[in-house]
């Protein structure tokens, strides 16, 4: 939590003025009862109407001053809190954008989203509220006690008894209720979990006729949650009456003891009335601080999560002096590359060496977990190798500027990712200055033009967030078009045809072939049909190359390849 306060540094003067104005406000608020007591003592008791009018107008001025301070304070705390929130958000987002996939996977997409959005809002709210109340309440509390003390020293002893009682009460209730609140969240999650399972598994549950037992499970979770909530509420029911009774008994005590002091001529009636008001102000500010403190732990957890994001350094950085590759266009080379994911016992791929040149198609095939996607993720330097090196156009990728390196690559991911915006914008993502002709051409090659023109607004049709208004195959084709419009030296296609029907698949591959004659193409595939005519097939098994060559060669020499093929093709087709 403290670490996040460094973001307040640029606002140090704002903070100063917030405190000044809130302090002034507190003094004004505290001065009012004193003025009132003067009115009572010297005006009412003596029937001096002129005095009453005079002091009445003083009170009005003080009240005006208090409101003015409060408004200025509110203005300053708003711009400070919100500004600080904005700054935190900017730096978190920029930091996350600089992450390599490694750091990104470590925290996880969903968690990063919450951290950038909700967590920051949580902290921001605490800042805005805190600046307004957490500063004000203590001033009121201390000021109230001082004023009460100045009115009558001995009567302040009442506060010395009441305030500890109040604090102990709040403390005890808090220790009982906080664990219950935590349990509440867990039990609510449980209800959510059971229900979510029931929704996701609805076919299975109905198929297996398990509605009754599922209902029992749900009801048990529901009952548990309800019982806990009732317990919490029953304790909460205590709080308000307890606080009110403490305040009222305090007033009564002040009148009783104050009365005796008045009878002894030590105190005046107006002072006693002011004293009561001070006591109330003190107790209210204590309650206010308590309420604020309820917010702190939540914001604290948020702040810790935000700090975690900010503290993670991106693992992949541009070298201080980058080397631009020479005139070569699209040459990819792996030299004895071994890579393991952080924390993993075994390397994901080991001792990989191969060469891919422009005009060639390299296909990578293998079972799940054999390291296909890992291998291609090393080319755009999503991860750094453990040993060996990946070279693009003769230069180690670690010696290149990431931007320059990736500008050479047209990447098509396994699951197509599109952004909200028009179809044209999405294709143009691959090349910012692409002309309309280039875009339509790319779409045609990707077999996407047909469905695009069928859309209501053609290339200007809006794509919803996550591309939910398109089918999987349509998304895949757009994602291919996006890579094509780049006209890169290297194409990386990570199992990118899986959602296409066979006819489109075939047409697309034929189109691609024409388009990529001068580029290096690296394809990851599941279907043997897709890889059969590649110039080089790399067969991976458990992260190692177990075969490399053309289809005809591998079918003879490589066991794993033969296994894969035989599971998909019939005997006569293999031959």
């Amino acid at each position: 939590m403290v670490k996040i306060f460094r973001f307040l540094k640029p606002y140090i003067w704002n903070l100063f003025w917030v405190i000044v104005f809130l302090f002034a406000q507190a003094i004004a608020e505290l001065y009012l009862p004193t003025l009132m007591s003067e009115v009572v003592n010297n005006g009412m008791m003596k029937g001096d109407t002129g005095y009453i009018w005079k002091y009445g107008s003083y009170m009005l001025l003080v009240a005006l001053g208090s409101s003015f301070c409060s408004i200025v304070g509110s203005y300053l705390s708003s711009i400070t809190g919100m500004g600080c929130g904005r700054d935190i958000r900017d730096s978190v987002f920029s930091r996350v954008e600089s992450y390599s996939l490694n750091e990104f996977d470590k925290i996880g997409t969903a968690s990063l989203i919450t951290r950038t959005t909700n967590d920051i809002i949580q902290v921001q709210t605490l800042l805005v509220m805190g600046l307004r109340f957490m500063v004000f309440a203590p001033i009121m509390c201390v000021g109230g006690i001082i004023m009460a003390y100045s009115k009558d020293k001995q009567l302040t002893l009442i506060l010395a008894v009441v305030l500890p009682v109040m604090l102990i009460l709040i403390g005890t209730l808090a220790t009982v209720i906080v664990p219950l609140f935590k349990a509440m969240q867990i039990k609510l999650d449980k209800v959510n979990l059971v229900l979510r399972e029931n929704l996701t598994g609805i076919r299975v549950i109905r198929a297996f006729n398990r509605l009754a037992s599922e209902n029992q499970r749900f009801e048990a979770a529901n009952r548990d949650l309800t019982d806990n909530a009732i317990r919490v509420n029953k304790i909460m029911a205590l709080i308000q009456p307890a606080m009110i009774i403490i305040m009222n008994l305090t007033s009564i005590a002040i009148i009783w003891f104050g009365g005796h002091r008045i009878s002894q001529n030590i105190m005046q009636v107006g002072d006693m009335m002011a004293f009561i008001q001070y006591a109330m102000q003190v107790m209210f500010s204590i309650i206010m601080v308590t309420i604020m403190f309820v917010m702190v732990p939540r914001a604290q957890a948020s702040a810790a999560r935000i700090n975690e994001v900010l503290e993670v350094e991106p693992g992949i950085k541009d070298p201080p002096e980058s080397i631009m590759s020479d005139s070569q266009r699209g040459h990819v080379e792996f030299r004895d590359v071994t890579f393991s994911y952080p924390g993993a016992e075994l390397p994901a791929i080991s001792n990989i060496s191969f060469n891919a040149s422009p005009g060639e198609v390299t296909a990578i095939i293998g079972g799940t977990g054999s390291g296909k996607s890992t291998l291609i993720n090393l080319i755009p330097r999503f991860y750094d190798v453990d040993s060996g090196s990946v070279l693009v156009d003769g230069v180690d990728v670690r010696q290149m500027n990431q931007k320059d390196l990736r500008a050479k690559i047209g990447f098509v991911p396994q699951t197509p990712v599109l952004f909200s915006g028009t179809v044209a914008e999405n294709i143009r993502y691959g090349k910012a200055d692409a002309t309309d002709e280039e875009i339509t051409h790319a779409a045609e090659v990707a077999q996407a033009s047909e469905f695009i023109t069928a859309l209501k607004d053609g290339y200007e049709s809006m794509i919803a967030q996550g591309g939910t208004n398109l089918s999987g195959g349509q998304k895949q084709r757009l994602s291919i078009a996006r890579a094509l419009v780049r006209k890169p030296g290297i194409y990386i296609l990570d199992d990118s045809f899986s959602a296409l029907d066979f006819k489109t698949d075939a047409r697309l591959r034929a189109g691609l072939k024409k388009e990529t004659t001068t580029s290096t193409v690296i394809i990851v595939a599941q279907r043997v049909g897709t890889v059969m005519d590649a110039d080089r097939i790399i067969v991976l098994d458990e992260g190692r190359i177990v075969g490399m060559g053309r289809h005809k060669e591998l079918i003879v020499s490589c066991n794993v390849y033969r296994e894969i093929v035989s599971s998909q093709l019939s005997e006569e087709e293999i031959a």
Partner: protein, 645 residues
Amino acid sequence: MSLKNSQQPARQRPGGPMGRGGHMMGMPVEKAKDFRGTLTRLTKYLKPEKYRFIAVFFLAIASTLFSIVGPKIMGKATTKLADGVLAKYAYFTKLYMAIQENMPAAVVNNLKKQPIPGFDFGYIGKILLLLVVLYIFSALCSYVMAYIMSGVSQNTVYRMRNDVKDKLDRLPLKYFDQRTYGEILSRVTNDMDNIATTLQQSLTQLITSLITVIGILIMMLSISPLMTLIAVVTLPVSMLITMQIAKNSQKFFAAQQKCVGELNGHVEEMYAGHKIVKVFGHEEDSIEKFKEINARLYGVGWKAQFISGIIFPALNFVNNIGYVLICVVGGLLVAHKKIEVGDIQAFIQYIRQFTQPIIQVANIANVLQSTVASAERVFEVLDEEEQVPDSEDAKVIEFPQGRVKFEHVKFGYKEDTPLMDDLSIDVKEGSTIAIVGPTGAGKTTLVNLIMRFYEVQGGRITVDGVDIRDMKRGDLRAMFGMVLQDTWLFNGSIRDNIAYGRDGATEEEIISAAKAANADHFIKTLPDGYDTILNEEASNISQGQKQLLTIARAILADPAILILDEATSNIDTRTEVLIQRAMANLMKGKTSFVIAHRLSTIRDADLILVMNQGAIIEQGSHTELLAKGGFYAELYNSQFTGASA
């Protein structure tokens, strides 16, 4: 499925990140479509708690009344004190005057002999004691009230939640296919939570606030109508100010909400597409866009905060004006002996308590609005059309053979776009039917119809000659076993997950089912064996292992008819072999519908159904279909002789 799953309840509730506790003034409120209707319906839900409500009502009145009388009585004590002061003052003045004016010594002595007027502490003590009793009684009432309410609100919501769950069980699958899980979940948790909080806090608050306002008004009138007039005049002023400011701030809050939505959308998109952003080198554009939205958010955000922050000081100022006026006017009245000093003290306390409940009532109006909107969403679920109930005199097939017939079946997910117009299939007992077609061709449609997850729109489906609509759904589904690619397992032990296949299965049966499914070995290698608890996403075992467990589950169920999905795209080759063998074990002698991916399965099938775009476009055996030269032939050629493309 997983995509749908990831859409967690994301609906921003009014009150936003602060939750309900800190419902900020001036925030826009969500409104119900049919406020009155929903409210009446909600009231019906509270009917079983009628007596408790009545008790709460009276307790609220008692508690408020007692606390309202307090200041007035306390004022009497103060007055008595002031009287004492004045009497003493008068006595000494008299004495002083007598001495000053050189009155005869007898007079002075006489005066001196009179007792110095003291303070009537007996009276004051009695008053204060009465106050202590009153306050304790009031606090007790308010505690009992909240205590009773805690049960009322939570039990009501408990019943509602169960009702919704029951309802969900009776809804057709169509309902679930059209909605995201997050949407449904949010109704059962967030909306219910909203209702519970309102019942717990706002309802009693509404009662006490109203009584407080009326009670205070009466008490103030009893002290001084003139001062009450002043107090009441400041009221519309405060209301006007609050409303004016609130209206302004709502505009900014709405704009803020929009910016937050935009920002969240951008963050979600950029993070989900992190890899693409990086590989296409768009990090800077993305940051730039973020900063632009963020700056806009700041622009409206601080205004929203500031303006809503003004409400309080502005109100406070109006209050203070009232306070000062009361002091002045009251002081004048006291000076003219129209009222007493204690009355001023009481009045000040009243006026301080006066605005609070009024603001509360205004706030509760908002809270009620959003609660009724929540209730409406819950009732919407309860009002959904249910699936056709099971027929009363349902038929039961005691020894199912597994003959399945589609007779002129007509079906479409939407009434106007039929997928199957006149589909007839005759599946002999023990035969294997392969369903083939590209991804997304609607292969689950068949499963949906056979299992009666969806109703046919024409024709009929029979099992062993009995129309499936003449059977209880439970009995029908008991004849089937399902192993789908979407392996649904729940958060529980592996044993329980397998035992899900059949109620009351013994330990031996479970283990032998696991063995038949080739799952026994891997289960034993897990740290807790059969007692290993699958975590929430069941991510502590691999996809292939999950599939094996679902096969074990189906084996244990020992159904007459099987529905299998061969797709094993996410599974390593070794596990795939295990799964193939396990499925073969399972299929022995049973009618099987297989969503087929393997050529061997397809060619050996007794019947192939070719699906495309949701409809069955061809059916027949492998050779028949090849000879036909239609879609199947083309599909077959493009898939398995890919090199020619």
